[in-house]
């Protein structure tokens, strides 16, 4: 055997070895990520019952895109995203900046903001359902003190989305705060010293030093927050079932209804493909576009 041949065969053995190591992960990724994704794309072009599927091209896409409820659901999801993401990011950053300093009670406060993260969303929904119940719910009880009348927070299309948004901010702000606390601890001291020498005011320090230096953290947290706003729908099952009149319905819950309440497989496949495209789009936009604009 020449040395070249031996190299090749050890290369081949390396390949086999690596493939063997990756094999267990790869089976499950194939079964529950790659295959379902491709299957959804394929199924989205077919219609009819499962046993007699007929090719229908883009017909179903047309149907879904023209559907009033679909448009409402997408609009809801965008409102939900715009309502939750910037607010919880801002709140998280604000909390982190003030709780980063060591003072009496700061770890107690951190705990109070962080614990909602580990409470299951379905349990959160149970608790907040009590809070939002008209008349004897906690919120109305509180508002009675100011002479306000009862409000059906979850039953009124005008308030239901706000109610959901507030709840999700409560659940997520503390989670994002942790990343900002970590980010703050990694900031270089000397930049601040230079800032102090120049006589910068606290707010100027924040605007010109802290905020830009925290941009990588913000980018990461933003991706997590945006994907969460499409992923987290458990609360709808308990609180509103998407109602009233679809006012609180979100895309993933709409998929659940299409697939498991109405058994409309073609529509569910189209909706799933749309959701996959959105998820890929968010990540691609963040990494390919925003990432380049941020200076590390």
């Amino acid at each position: 055997m020449t040395t070249k041949q031996r190299k090749l065969s050890s290369g081949a053995r390396n390949n086999l070895f690596a493939y063997g190591l990756l094999f267990p992960s790869f089976i499950f990724l194939s079964l529950f990520t790659f295959y379902p994704t491709l299957k959804s794309i394929q199924l989205s072009f077919y219609s009819g019952p499962m046993t007699r599927l007929q090719f229908s091209g883009l017909e179903q896409y047309k149907g879904v895109l023209e559907d009033e409820i679909f448009r409402k659901v997408i609009l809801n999801n965008i409102i939900f995203m715009i309502g939750t993401v910037p607010t919880s990011l801002f709140l998280a950053m604000y909390l982190a900046i003030w709780l980063n300093k060591k003072m009496a009670g700061s770890s107690l406060l951190r705990t109070s903001f962080f614990y909602p993260t580990i409470v299951p969303l379905i349990a959160v929904a149970n608790i907040w359902l009590f809070i939002y119940t008209p008349q004897y719910g906690l919120l109305d009880n509180f508002l009675h003190m100011f002479g306000r009348d009862d409000t059906n927070w979850l039953g009124d299309p005008n308030t239901v989305m706000i109610a959901m948004i507030v709840m999700i901010i409560w659940k997520d702000a503390g989670f994002f705060m942790i990343f900002y606390l970590a980010g703050l601890q990694n900031l270089p001291r000397d930049v601040y010293e230079a800032g102090e020498m120049e006589g910068a005011k606290p707010f100027q320090m924040f605007r010109h030093i802290t905020f830009p230096l925290l941009m990588p953290t913000t980018l990461f947290v933003m991706i997590v927050a945006i994907t969460n706003s499409f992923k987290n729908v458990d609360h709808l099952y308990i609180m509103t079932k998407g109602g009233p009149d679809n006012a609180s319905n979100l895309l993933l819950y709409h998929i659940y209804e299409a697939a498991f309440t109405n058994w409309d497989l073609g529509k569910a496949a189209v909706l799933t493909v749309i959701l996959i495209v959105i998820m890929l789009g968010i990540t691609a936009f963040n990494y390919l576009y925003l990432d380049r604009k941020i200076h590390y």
């Binding site: 990724l29 994704t37 903001f113 614990y115 299951p120 608790i127 503390g174 697939a259």
Partner: protein
Amino acid sequence: MKKLNYGIIIVLGIISFIPLLWVIITSFSPGNQVINGGFPFWVSNPTVENYVNAWKTAPFLQYYFNTFVIVSGVLIVQLVTVTLAAYAFARVNFKGKNVLFILFLLQLMIQPEILLFPNYQVISQLGLVNTKLAVMMPYWASAFGVFLMRQTFKQVPYDLDEAARMDGCKWYQTLWHVYIPSAKPTYIAFALVSVSHHWSNFMWPLIITDSVESRPLTVGLALFAQSYETGAQWGMVAAGTVMVIMPLVLAFFLFQKQFVSSFMHSGIK
């Protein structure tokens, strides 16, 4: 200025704490007290009746058992798949490494949570609907875990690896004696994130399970809560809710530091 901001934060902190406090207090309140109004953070005649009734009405013990099996079943398999894949990506040079890496990356963007409907079809083709196995399987590969572990394995000095090989260690012995021990904090971080995630998971088990034998706590709680719509039974629903969140909340208060740092670890991508 400083005082104002701390004031705001203290008020927010109290507001944030109220839902937990309230659900616990309500769970010990007699039924009529909840709807009759009065100060909601005080119970004049605390009772454990709600817990007794909730425990009697729904098979919580079975649900606990199911959740426990599911959570540990997911974690144990994940630890194996993640370790092997991470080792390959961190320390073996092979053909197609980049392509495979990107394929793994896809799972970070297309997580099993959003594939509810097509994954249901896969499970039903495998004939596994309504089993605990079906609840676990979509999570047996974790791209997130692979990236987390790969990062950690890469920090293990090559010298250690080589020294072990010189001593005649096979690759699995090196993995076992060198890589895994040095990645212990990352394993703990991953385990905490995985356990709390799967303890909380709801939509997927809701769809794929249909009986008491395979349903986890979250689904059991949702069905239980839905059968009581009037305020008079809030105490019972609150008791059920507390039973589901308590293991996590208690673990969190006991291992706060590990929890917080594990969630921070989960940010490394």
